[in-house]
């Protein structure tokens, strides 16, 4: 199943990157979200897939019965999902604010840090 997921990861990266290099700032944030998912899935797959056996110590035992899914990538991804959400939320509010301030959603127009050409200064 790894090869199928490899294609899925490639597709997510392609779509995410394509959105990120759009001139529209909104599409950029959508691309960011896709890239986050792609990266998580990448870590998950590279850590090997084990079907239906979560890393859980059964009642009465002292350690999980092998074979079992690798807990380390899962811990990493869990962190990444949450942080990805934080980044997404911040980016979303930021571009909303940028749009209000600069008055355009075209990234190619935003080439300087000066906003004095706009009225809001």
């Amino acid at each position: 199943m790894e090869s199928v997921l490899a294609v899925v990861i490639g597709g997510l990266y392609a779509a995410g990157l394509y959105l990120m290099v759009r001139r529209s700032i909104v599409k950029m944030v959508f691309g960011l979200a896709l890239l986050g998912n792609a990266a998580n899935l990448l870590i998950f797959t590279v850590g090997r897939l084990t079907r239906g056996r979560p890393p859980y110590v059964p009642p009465g035992g002292t350690e999980p019965l092998l074979p079992v899914a690798d807990p380390l990538p899962q811990a990493l991804i869990l962190t990444a999902i949450v942080i990805g959400f934080g980044v997404q939320a911040f980016a979303l509010v930021l571009i909303k604010r940028v749009y209000q301030t600069v008055g355009t959603d075209d990234l190619d127009v935003m080439t300087t840090t000066d906003t004095d050409s706009r009225s809001s200064g």
Binding site: S3, G10, R51, I81, Q88, K96, T112
Partner: protein, 764 residues
């Protein structure tokens, strides 16, 4: 001896404070430092003349064989005495010349630091130590040329000198490292015994070229000579000290020091002799057509440095003797002339030769000093210059190759030198006053004494040459040759070809000086060097700045998406090359297995991504994102990661809610890119996607050794008291990471809050 070298740096640090406390006496106190050092080195003279080398060493970087070591032999002693002796004069002179300058304290500090760096260079017993001090002299020179940093010309000249000498310095470092490899040691004493090994080393030619590059840039040899006249922007004491008597002679020192190791080959002879010969003649011609006193002196210094280089290129005992004598004599007369030029500038307010004349009446002592120095420069008996010139001709006539050519070039250069001597030593002081608008006044003793002293020294050396020969020159020549060479200096050798050549030179020189005015009028106005190496330097600097601007425009164009594409493209390219080179491309794909539901999940994810990427509706894009998120959660469930799935479901839902809330405050999707741009972006996106696929396949085809995970699985219950291993990792084993994660979320939340709240204030 280490104390002697480093004391200069200590004094340099103290000088500005001293000057603030005791502005009247600081000059005297600062002059004491070189004076004491002069005494110290003079006291070592006996031992050095007896053929001993005095050493002091500390281990610095033993693993690389680098020592912080100093050694004093004849060559070092000659330089050390020149450096400290002229240092005394220059510091005393500066206290009067720059009297009242508000950075005088800083000046004392810099000049003492420079002196210490010079001493370190000529006393260094290790190549790396030598290099460090060598670069320090360049740095001090930069600061001293740009001393009047308010003027653009001074800053520009300082930068030019720094760039040229530092470029040479880099070459020198490379040369030293190769030399150290070739000889097996960085220690100078050991190096000097391994000349044969170095000369037969396959890397001999690169070593020679790199070392010569360093020496030629420092000693202003053609085609790097142009920085030296530019450096005349410095205050005159600096020009006298750094740019005539000491620093520019470092290249000569290096050639002399390494000539037992590198010298004597055809490559050495041709490159060094030719560079020296061209510099010698070109410098003389350039000096002749200038009218600024300091510029004339600067070009004549270039010419003298060329003569010294040429002599070292000849690599005969006679030439080495001539070089050492001429080095000493030149330092004496040139520092005297520079200091006299400064006194003239100070007293008459001009350095323009055409406006001067009859200054001897106003400043008789300066005229005397300059006159004596000029006579020495012209090589008139009984001054020291006469002895030097006889030796020069003798050495050139005995040149191993192309003796006629070398002698002819030497004759031209010497005649030009005589003409320059007339121009700087006679014309300003005698004859009628050219420009009566100049009001000259007498100059103080501290301005005329320093030029007079070295000029008188020239007279003394000329009258009693034997002493100088035995105590100073012979040990130095022995160091240059590697074996003791009998040196017997005498004023009078009788009427021989060399003497006749000398007489002819003086006559020709005086003749050139007398027709100079007529010659210059023939020259078209403004026919200065609009071409040549200086122009090349300018083009190089402009080109470099242009390249910098171009690549800044290219890479720092301010467009986020191009940055992104550059970074991603570079990463994919580099990793792709690495993978291809490793040859580990998966030959056999793992066969896709799994049930229909798994395929379905994969299809859903891809469909969601495709929708998000292509739709023109914002809501459809959000829906696509959501589909991807839930699809990924599904994959987590299928492959034993229920915690991930739960988190992903929650977060995804939250994200979608957030997106929908903000969405209608955002602009509609607009079609901004051109079709061509979209095709390019698609290509980039697909190549990156394809690459990631290959990367994953490659990664899963390798064997995984999960050492850390095993520990977590075993210790989860006993050590972490939890059955859910993932949770135990997050809150127990890696709890600090989780704390960091929470912090990130808190910061993001604060940011979101701030951005939302600031809305009412009009933005920005």
């Amino acid at each position: 001896m280490i104390v002697a070298v480093l004391s200069g740096f200590g004094a340099a640090l103290a000088a500005p404070f001293l000057h603030r406390r005791l502005p009247r006496w600081s000059g005297w106190v600062c002059a004491l430092v070189p004076l004491m050092l002069f005494g110290f080195f003079a006291a070592q003279g006996g031992e050095v003349a007896a053929g001993h080398t005095i050493r002091a060493a500390y281990e610095w970087i033993p693993s690389l064989g680098v020592d912080f070591s100093f050694s004093l032999d004849g060559l070092s002693l000659l330089f050390a005495l020149l450096i400290t002796g002229i240092g005394v004069l220059v510091v005393a002179y500066a206290s009067s010349y720059l009297h009242g300058h508000h950075h005088l304290g800083r000046f004392y500090g810099l000049i003492l630091a420079f002196m210490a760096a010079m001493l370190g260079t000529v006393l260094a017993g290790d190549l790396i130590t030598l290099f460090v001090f060598w670069e320090l002299t360049g740095l001090c020179s930069y600061l001293l040329i740009g001393f009047d940093h308010g003027r653009e010309a001074a800053r520009k000249a300082a930068l030019q000198a720094l760039l040229v000498t530092c470029a040479g310095g880099l070459a020198l470092l490379a040369g030293f490292i190769l030399l150290g490899e070739g000889a097996g040691s960085l220690d100078l004493a050991a190096l000097l015994t391994r000349g044969d090994a170095v000369r037969s080393h396959p890397l001999y030619v690169p070593i020679l070229a790199l070392v010569l590059l360093g020496a030629f840039t420092k000693s202003a040899q053609f085609p790097f000579h142009f920085w030296l006249p530019g450096a005349m922007e410095a205050p005159t004491p600096v020009s006298a000290y750094l740019h005539s008597a000491t620093m520019v002679k470092l290249g000569i020192y290096l050639l002399a020091r390494l000539s037992p190791v590198l010298g004597g080959t055809d490559a050495w002879f041709w490159s060094v002799t030719l560079a020296g010969g061209i510099t010698m003649v070109a410098g003389g011609v350039m000096a002749l057509i200038r009218s600024d006193l300091k510029q004339i002196l600067a070009y004549s210094t270039v010419s003298a440095l060329g003569t010294l280089t040429l002599l070292l290129g000849l690599h005969t005992p006679r030439a080495a003797t001539a070089a050492m004598v001429f080095l000493l004599v030149h330092a004496l007369y040139k520092s005297a002339l520079f200091l006299a030029a400064g006194a003239v500038d100070h007293g008459a307010g001009t350095r323009d030769l055409a406006r001067m004349g009859g200054l001897a009446r106003a400043m008789p002592w300066v005229a005397l000093g300059a006159g004596l120095a000029a006579l020495s420069m012209a090589g008139v008996a009984p001054l020291a210059g006469f002895i030097a010139k006889e030796l020069l001709y003798e050495a050139k006539l005995q040149a191993p190759l192309a003796a006629e050519f070398v002698t002819g070039a030497g004759f031209v250069a010497n005649a030009l030198t005589v003409a320059v001597a007339v121009m700087v030593g006679y014309l300003p002081f005698h004859g009628r006053e050219r420009d009566t608008s100049l009001h000259h006044h007498r100059v103080e003793s501290l301005l005329w004494l320093p030029p007079l002293l070295p000029a008188l020294m020239g007279l003394v050396v000329g009258i009693v040459p034997g002493l100088t020969g035995r105590w100073l020159v012979a040990p130095a020549v022995a160091a240059v040759r590697g074996v003791p060479v009998p040196v017997d200096l005498a004023l009078w050798h009788g009427v021989n070809p060399v003497f006749l050549l000398g007489v002819a030179t003086v006559a020709a020189g005086v003749g050139i000086a007398s027709v100079r005015g007529a010659l210059l009028r023939r020259l078209p106005a403004g026919s200065g060097p609009g071409w040549g190496p200086e122009r090349g330097y300018g083009l190089l600097i402009d080109g470099m700045l242009g390249l910098a601007r171009w690549q800044t425009r290219l890479l720092q164009n301010g467009r986020l998406r191009y940055y992104l594409m550059t970074v991603v493209g570079a990463a994919v390219f580099l990793m792709g090359v690495a993978i291809l080179r490793s040859g580990e491309i998966p030959r056999q794909l793992p066969r896709p297995d799994g049930g229909i539901h798994e395929w379905l999940a994969a299809g859903v994810i891809l469909a969601g991504a495709l929708t998000a990427a292509t739709t023109t509706s914002r809501l459809a894009a959000v829906a696509g994102l959501g589909t991807v998120g839930y699809g990924v959660a599904l994959v987590y469930i299928l492959y034993g990661a229920p915690d991930l799935a739960m988190t992903q479901f929650c977060i995804e839902t939250l994200s979608i809610v957030l997106f929908v809330l903000v969405l209608y405050r955002l602009p509609r999707f607009s079609l901004l890119s051109t079709p061509g741009g979209r095709v390019r972006d698609l290509l980039v996106a697909f190549s990156v996607g394809g690459f990631m696929t290959v990367l994953v396949l490659l990664a899963v085809s390798q064997t995984l050794v999960p050492h850390i995970s095993t520990y977590f699985l075993e210790q989860s219950l006993p050590a972490g008291h939890g059955r859910n291993v993932v949770n135990v990792i997050l809150v127990d084993f890696r709890a600090l990471d989780t704390l960091g994660e929470i912090t990130v979320l808190a910061v993001a939340a604060l940011g979101v809050y701030g951005l939302m709240k600031g809305r009412g204030e009009g933005g920005g």
